[in-house]
Symmetry: C3
């Protein structure tokens, strides 16, 4: 049983291409939906995810107090446009849901260009892109459009319609729990509140969905909790309503912006030297890819809440290009071209490597701690001669025996020995089989 719980750390990559294509198909399907921090767009999104994993969907009523916050009114939108005085729709929500500032209150009125302009937002530096804006916590309205569109606006009377509703309703989020051998949990969190944006954060959703699907088929040491929540208010709500469960969370990752072609970025947890931090760093350092590991800072995604001082959870943030570091961020250019199958697939595999090492990163006790055991009589030692590869395994065996003092995890052994963790893991498996090693229960 102990032996069975050790899985090989070699990732089966035979399905890599399929995984990338499958993830991209999910992103493509979710892309057109107008999501926000509440509303039917979130429900539709979670429903699609349900076809992949048995998500539990929660509805939290507007007005509920969650720590210092209040669950907001639910926002829904059916249509929105701006018509010029010739009756032409010059800005149309149906072309892009980014055209309407997210959480805009209903509007239906005529106004001059000057009045209208107070509600228009563009990106002069990127005149073909539509910016993405929100007004969650201030009742207001507005339109986003390309700067080129904006420049063409002629004087005259405009008809402005936002057919939205902002009413008591629910905050909707999805949760999927996979029970493991222990009650200790790994949290995987992503946000579901962005409309037609690909990298931020359909990419994160897709990696989370496929990690969940993969892990659900395995017998895991840890329990896994996947959260599909609106940013900030979602994690605040979940933490407040599930405080008793928080102590079970031993490790975690926030997934965001994992679909672009930029280098990998791991933002450490506030703790900075948590096991998840060490493992993420190790995996990226051994990935053969360009990467950067950055320190925690209290800005970004829901790691802000998980790492608030009252929780201080070991939750890092796994990204490719960090938010704000690429010009497409929060614009219509963060689209289905910006995200590519190979990039989400690669992110998925790095995350899977992190979780596989986490699962196997155990601590052992040498059962023959005084002097080395005789490896030869157990077939663990070459007799005369021996090939280089065998000698390598033999050295891994000696390292594991030497460091199996209850104070070194497999990762510690890999790092102190300079040997690859899967070689160290194989040595540990061999020693467990010969009763020379015993796993220490946490």
């Amino acid at each position: 049983m102990i032996i069975d719980s050790i899985k090989t750390l070699d990732i089966e990559r035979n399905q890599t291409e399929n995984v990338g294509q499958n993830m991209y198909q999910l992103i493509t399907k979710l892309y057109p939906i107008c999501r926000s921090i509440t509303g039917d767009g979130v429900r539709e999104t979670l429903n699609i995810i349900k076809s992949f994993i048995p998500l539990e969907v929660h509805e939290v009523p507007s007005g509920i107090e969650v720590y210092d916050w209040t669950v907001p009114k639910e926002w829904n939108i059916r249509d929105a446009y701006i018509k010029n005085d010739r009756g032409e729709k010059i800005v149309d929500f149906r072309n892009s849901n980014l055209h309407v500032i997210n959480y805009s209150i209903p509007v239906n009125q005529k106004m001059s260009l000057a009045q209208l302009k107070e509600h228009l937002f563009t990106l002069p530096d990127y005149p073909d892109w539509i910016p993405y804006r929100t007004t969650y916590y201030k009742e207001s309205w507005g339109f986003c459009l390309t700067h080129n569109q904006y420049l063409e606006l002629a004087d005259g009377e405009y008809e402005v319609v936002i057919d939205s509703s902002l009413e008591a309703g629910y905050l909707t989020y999805g949760e999927y729990f996979i029970a493991g051998e222990t009650t200790e949990e790994v949290l995987i969190s992503c946000h579901t509140c962005h409309p037609s944006l690909g990298n931020d954060n359909l990419s994160g959703i897709s990696v989370a969905v496929f990690l969940a699907q993969h892990l659900s088929k395995l017998q895991n040491r840890y329990s896994y909790r996947f959260l599909f929540i609106p940013g900030t208010i979602g994690s605040v709500t979940w933490l407040c309503q599930n405080e008793a469960k928080v102590t079970n969370i031993k490790h975690g990752l926030v997934l965001t912006c994992v679909g672009d072609g930029g280098k990998f970025t791991y933002k450490k947890s506030r703790q900075g030297k948590a096991e998840i931090d060490k493992i993420a760093q190790y995996v990226l350092a051994n990935s053969g890819k360009e990467y950067e590991v950055i320190d925690f800072f209290p800005y970004g995604y829901d790691e802000r809440q998980y790492c608030s001082p009252g929780f201080n959870l070991a939750v890092g943030c796994f990204m490719r290009s960090p938010h704000g570091s690429f010009p497409e961020y929060h614009t219509s250019a963060d689209n289905l071209d910006f995200v590519q199958p190979e990039y989400v697939a690669d992110s998925y595999h790095q995350c899977l490597s992190i979780l596989q090492i986490l699962e196997n990163n155990k601590t052992y006790l040498n059962q023959n701690p005084k002097c080395e055991p005789r490896l030869g009589k157990r077939g663990l030692y070459r007799a005369i001669g021996g090939q280089a590869e065998e000698a390598l395994n033999e050295l891994a065996i000696l390292w594991v025996l030497n460091l199996a003092d209850g104070e070194h995890t497999l990762l510690d052994m890999a790092q102190r020995s300079g040997m690859a963790i899967n070689v160290i893991n194989k040595a540990a498996i061999a020693l467990l089989k010969h009763d020379l090693l015993k796993e220490i229960s946490a």
Copy 2:
């Protein structure tokens, strides 16, 4: 009240020029006096300082045992000269008090040039400078003169007069205590035993006097103890006679050689990582000036005594050019030209910055530690858009909230966030006003 105790860390520099001129005037006034480790020169010096701050003057009788030392006899000098056989005063104490070796016993005799030469000291490498020498603990006498003077000495009989006295008397020192909100003390110590030398240590005296004057007008968190003492025997005496007070000293600075144009030098306390060490290092690193931070070594000024292993106080030494590193050191060239108003003023301001940060370097508890508080409803968050500067303050607010776990001082927050400490301080003030932060009492 809590809020009031937080002062802005921006230093009002409007008086910079005045401060420099005022300090330099004090130095100029003290310069001609012939000080030593005891005697009327010290009394006269302390009397002048009394016109700036209400100094308490202590007189400790000769012969008193202080730890391994004995308070020495009091030394006074009225006149001294060497006359050649034509009756000309070729060396005259009235021209420079450095001409007589400090603590020389009385002499009145005639002698040959050869005999005289055994008592003469010069600096061949700097033939126009008079060296400064002492003979505190060995009864002897001698004269210091320029090497050029020395070379002109012709054979013949010389009349040598030192009209000094070395008799039972007192060791005189000054002390000024400013009571603060707490009994915890900051010690500022400088030596008053050098005759006409500017950098070593009239500069230190002047910075101490003006710091004391400034702090006396404020409501301080810490109590401040200023000592104006003879080097070594003064600190030994004070420590021995005030042992019960020593445990109150939590931080301290020895001030010396702070008036020359060299780069700043901070010599760490023996502890090496004391709060004063971290703050001094931070202030100099952010001063925009050239500086060096050096490790403690058991040589130099009174930090030797404060940092002896039986006390091991968190007392560093603040200097510009360290003693011995400039050729003018302990010569007549360490004069009123070598010290300049702008240099003492700059030293004064760096010390003030250190003390201001020390005063404000508190530890806080986030009163909403689970998730972030809603900054928007408190006006601490831009709604839509927002300028770069405001965004910066917002980030400072998030950092302070995140690190207000009772284990980070303001300086720790500044260093972990990479933000300026006054920006961090402003954020803390704002959060205290909104009851989102609470100061932890020490």
Copy 3:
């Protein structure tokens, strides 16, 4: 008595040349003997060592269980050769004991070249060298020869004789214990199981013998235990049969490959920051020689057993060129030319420096911890002036006083002050003489 126990750290090198020659003579005498992990070759070797130091020889019967191991049968060999069909001895044990694989079972048979070749081993890359091979734990036989010899073998029938015995007997090892002032021990261990090989490990034996001889004449603080044992099985046996003594071992060195001209190599103990590790590093860094300090790894010599997790002793390994890093390793080229008197002498002196510092690396308490003591009245301070060298000593005195807080050893003082340890040591001796310092008993 305390003072007497402090020896000067300056090594008397007047006998350097003699020591080197004497060590080399011992190596030369031991070289021809056919040693193995058991047998008469070991006995003969220990007998020769007995003429230098009063070694106690232990005989442990075959079959005894020692931890996971069993003491093997005793192996002895009288003769061995391969004759061609013309009756010529083409490989002859009497020419080199490396020709026979160590622990070969008896053989006396005729065979074809093809059959013979399955038992022949050569080094094609070094065609003039005979490899050294063993078959301790698998009953087998074979010959080693130069590749050039091998290439000349013609078809035909060969007569193969190995006149050896492998029977119940004893494992023989030598032990020499020098009692010191305390029961705390320094372990010096070397292996005695290699036949005609010079660097590996007659060099280690010779350094151990001469260190033992030197230390036996001194009054030492530590007790010293010298082990002359077969590799692996010897240390396993000793540790198992002397477990009660193991806790006394506070420091130790395994000596091997110390006779070649390569740079010094110190392999740290598993602890990594043990006192012996710090001292060895300090000695080599100050040796003026090329050196390398490497981390512990669980491969190599008997440090593998001493540093197994059940013991985790502070035992490092002192070498010049590490095993496997030079082509002569485990070949006939590791001979009396490869090892030279100057190299073993140099190794001896570095080891002696390590042990001398270890002996003197004490912790002291300043007896006048509050402020500095008055050095002048004790003649420990220059009066007026003073030479550079004296000033240096004075600084050493101040450092020792400052750091004599019971938490700094002499080495810590040397490293924090940046002063040479013998200068620091002299200062400590002077202070002990004046009762300003007191040694702390461990």
